[in-house]
């Protein structure tokens, strides 16, 4: 089997290619985000343009670098030491772009984003605050290497951590992971070193390292970044964990909604086997580790570790009754350790670079970095890697650019529907789990931050999240699937104008009862509602007692009113024509001309169709049905 030194030597041409030592390199970032922006077409068009001009340059596919707002992103390394990033390079721009950047050598052109290195006199990437604030460690190779070429990963340091770990004892590796204070990056926050030690000391054999790449929390694509753009970092982390815990096999469970991630991880595993990094004699050190990639099929609860295990075990992914816990009895009864993608990735970085490098910065409670995906009502959507001493406000304002013009921050969803929703004080929190827990949250989450501005309705959000959680409930325990169903019913009734004073009490009772669910899905399901009742009480009460939705969203509490005289004025002629063309009622065969009574016309003629959100008592509200009140406790 090749040694690590052999692999490095084999990767030398790849290193030369990445560093543009022999010829210029044009690298087009291709991942799910940039594909949506046309990156594959850009890559093909640039290849065509370079070939047509007979230029001697490498045109590579590389991974995405997280800058969704700038996609398609292209990096040009014209000469060694010169690296410049360009944004929004579309396929139709390719010829002009190649002429400008390569043929004429105009570094500064209309696509320029910033220089990473070299290219003096040109705007730097560090001039962008959203770039310079980042500490891109886990992301250091994203957008630099082709994730489908193992040599490029090795050239950049992949598996150097494994090489180092194989020269340490199990206890030494675990001690290093423990000293780093690395904790579960899905939001579970459990110390990773201790978890690996559970498996090491478990008497159950064989043992397996399991990677939770289900990432079902909407708004989070942190794990997708690693899976698609640096899969070898994950594989390395799992093998290191296997070495430390005595496991000889690994499972990577990838959600169905990430097909490109699945493809690339499968390919990476194949290439790792080819290079002897997986198999019966890893790096020639007599250590055996096998890897299996399992593809999910659409189920949020398969992101819960026992649901994930159940899903691998040839069946429905229903979370299990515990104990026993995975270290004692996991996948098919094997001792198992389940960790998030980013936890393994962080462990690989740690072993590659050492404890001292990892512990900078060190807040006392946490060290190192974490990746965050920012979306929602923000100006810049993307994935950013921040040091553990950064704040939510920095993520929101510096990285994401704050709310859209004319809007104000209203709420933060820090980690999927189960973690709840936070008001303005969240902005001042450091991005550390302890800070969130001190304010009453169960955790900080896996890094998927969704920001809401004042156009969002909290009650509507609660209703939508509870519906999602009900839909995804596995059904094992009535507490969960019945409890979420009941919460949806109450919230929807409130949204229709049938809110009652007793509803808050009922919702709290449901929240209390849901604590007895079998797994975290039911247990945490009421979080968003409890948060709303605590931190957005006046908005909630407005819906119930005044039948008013201040964000003009809840359909039972608003209606559209068209000023038809205004509609016929000349300045609205074009929009009115479009409204007639796109009339929903006409298209559905229900009317012969636009009635101006719905959302479509509201969008097309905002000055003509207004949203009425306040009703006189008795008008527009649903009638109060009779009900039996629960006894007071």
């Amino acid at each position: 089997m090749p040694s690590y030194a052999d692999l490095l030597a084999q990767a030398e041409p790849a290193r030369r290619r990445i560093e543009a030592l022999d010829r210029p390199r044009i690298a087009v970032g291709v991942d799910t985000s940039s594909v949506a922006a046309g990156a594959r077409e850009t890559l093909a068009a640039i290849r065509e343009a370079v070939s047509q001009r007979g230029l001697d340059a490498d045109v590579d596919q590389v991974g995405g670098n997280g800058l969704s707002f700038a996609n398609p992103v292209v990096e040009v390394a014209k000469a060694p030491g010169s690296r410049v990033l360009y944004q929004n390079v579309r396929a139709e721009d390719a010829a002009e772009f190649v002429d400008a950047a390569l043929v004429r050598g105009e570094v500064d052109n209309r696509w320029l984003l910033g220089a990473l290195a070299g290219a003096e006199g040109v705007k730097r990437m560090d001039d962008h605050a959203w770039w310079s604030i980042q500490k891109r460690r886990l992301m250091q190779d994203m957008g630099v290497i082709d994730p489908e070429d193992i040599d490029q990963a090795i050239a950049r340091g992949a598996y150097s951590g494994l090489e180092r770990a194989l020269g340490m004892t199990q206890e030494e590796v675990i001690a290093e992971v423990t000293s780093s204070r690395l904790r579960g990056r899905s939001g579970s926050d459990f110390p990773t070193g201790r978890k690996w030690d559970f498996l090491r000391t478990s008497t159950t054999t064989p043992k397996a390292m399991v990677c939770n790449a289900d990432e079902g929390d909407p708004g989070a694509w942190v794990n997708r970044m690693t899976l698609e753009n640096d899969p070898h970092a994950l594989i390395e982390g799992m093998i290191i964990g296997g070495w430390a815990s005595g496991a000889d096999r690994g499972y990577v469970y990838i959600r169905e909604e990430y097909p490109l991630a699945y493809e690339r991880v499968v390919k990476a595993v194949e290439q790792a086997y080819e290079r002897g990094l997986l198999g019966e004699d890893v790096l020639g050190r007599g250590f055996r580790f096998d890897m299996k990639v399992v593809r999910g099929a659409g189920s949020y609860v398969c992101g819960e570790e026992s649901g994930l295990i159940a899903s691998i075990e040839d069946g429905r992914g229903m979370p299990k009754i515990r104990p026993p816990f995975p270290a004692a009895a996991g996948v098919f009864g094997q001792g198992s350790n389940v960790n998030n993608v980013e936890s393994y990735h962080s462990a690989a970085w740690l072993l590659r670079n050492g404890l001292e490098a990892y512990l900078d910065p060190d807040t006392g409670r946490n060290a190192g970095t974490m990746m965050f995906t920012l979306s929602g009502h923000v100006q810049r959507v993307g994935c950013f890697e921040l040091p553990m001493d950064a704040t939510v406000r920095q993520a929101y304002e510096v990285c994401a650019g704050g709310p859209p013009a004319g809007r104000r921050f209203k709420a933060l969803q820090p980690g999927g529907p189960l973690l709840g929703i936070m008001p303005e004080f969240a902005l001042d929190l450091p991005l550390e789990p302890e800070a969130f827990k001190e304010r009453g949250m169960a955790a900080m989450g896996g890094g998927g931050l969704v920001f809401l501005d004042d156009s969002a309705c909290i009650v509507d959000l609660c209703s939508q999240f509870e519906w999602f959680l009900e839909d995804e409930s596995c059904g094992r325990c009535t507490t969960c699937h019945g409890g979420t169903q009941r919460m949806v019913e109450i919230l929807r009734r409130i949204q229709r104008g049938g809110g009652r004073e007793s509803d808050a009490g009922k919702l709290r009772l449901l929240a209390d009862t849901l604590r007895y669910s079998n797994c975290i899905h039911g247990q945490a399901a009421p979080a968003v509602v409890v948060n709303a009742l605590t931190w957005f009480a006046d908005e909630y009460e407005e819906h119930v007692l005044q039948r008013r939705c201040r964000a003009k969203t809840c359909k039972g509490l608003i209606r559209y009113e068209a000023d038809r005289t205004a509609a016929s004025r000349p300045q609205h002629a074009e929009a009115l024509a479009r409204a007639n063309e796109l009339c929903l009622a006409v298209a559905a065969g229900e009317a012969s001309e636009a009635c101006l009574d719905c959302l479509v016309c509201r969008e097309l003629l905002p000055d003509v169709v207004r949203v009425v959100d306040a009703f006189e008592s008795g008008v527009g509200a649903a009638p109060e049905p009779v009900s039996v009140q629960p006894a007071e406790r």
Binding site: T32, S33, A36, A37, S68, F69, N71, P218, G219, A220, W221, R224, Y251, E256, E257, K292, V294, R295, G296, A297, G298, S299, Y300, S311, I312, E313, D314, G315, R316, G317, M318, V331, F332, T373, S375, G376, H377, V381, G382, Q413, P417, V450, L452, S455, A456, L461, Q464, F465, F468, C474, R578, L582, C583, L584, A587, A588, L599, V600, E603, L604
Partner: protein, 174 residues
């Protein structure tokens, strides 16, 4: 039992399914892969395929059926010619996703998870996959279309329904 011709068709299908399952073994976590391969081949998991899967992986048929119905991405009926997947994620939702869904359901005359009567179009409940810079969005046969408005959705569906406009529309105006 059914007629001879029915039995013959079942046998052919069973042989084909067995070929698809080659290399998969019981007790190693291959059920999801088995079902993925079948759906990839037929566009859905036919009821008739379940016995072959159960036999190959030494599982009760009820367990295989349970898996097919548990996971949202396995279909039990053939897919439509063009599938519109609506994103249910929070970023899309707060930027007008609900309005898009209502327009889709009204114009197609069916709910999420259903097809139009002629099976040309169908709706699907999609999950967030992190292309939130396009919010609010849908996927048309797996391709992202967004940001959309309710008006733009009307245009999109008309384009998909119309004879000339059948196929992909990336970014409808408005």
């Amino acid at each position: 039992m059914t007629s001879f011709s029915g039995a013959a068709k079942r046998t052919e299908a069973t042989v084909e399914v067995r070929q698809l399952l080659e290399g998969l073994v019981p007790g190693e976590g291959d059920l999801l892969e088995a079902l993925h391969r079948i759906q990839h081949r037929y566009g859905y998991v036919p009821r008739a395929a379940i016995p072959a899967v159960a036999q190959h992986l030494r599982l009760p048929e009820s367990r295989v059926y349970g898996a097919v119905t548990f996971y949202s991405e396995f279909r039990q009926t053939p897919p439509p010619e063009t599938l519109i997947s609506w994103c249910s994620g929070p970023a899309c939702y707060i930027k007008g996703g609900e309005g898009i869904r209502l327009v889709l359901e009204k114009l197609l005359g069916c709910a999420l998870g259903e097809n139009t009567p002629d099976n040309r179009l169908g709706l699907h409940l999609g999950q967030c996959n992190g292309t939130c810079d396009n919010a609010p969005q849908v996927w048309v046969d797996g391709r992202v279309v967004g940001p959309l408005t309710a008006a733009g959705t009307v245009e999109l569906v008309k384009g998909l329904k119309g004879a000339a406009g059948r196929g992909r529309r990336r970014r409808p105006a408005g």
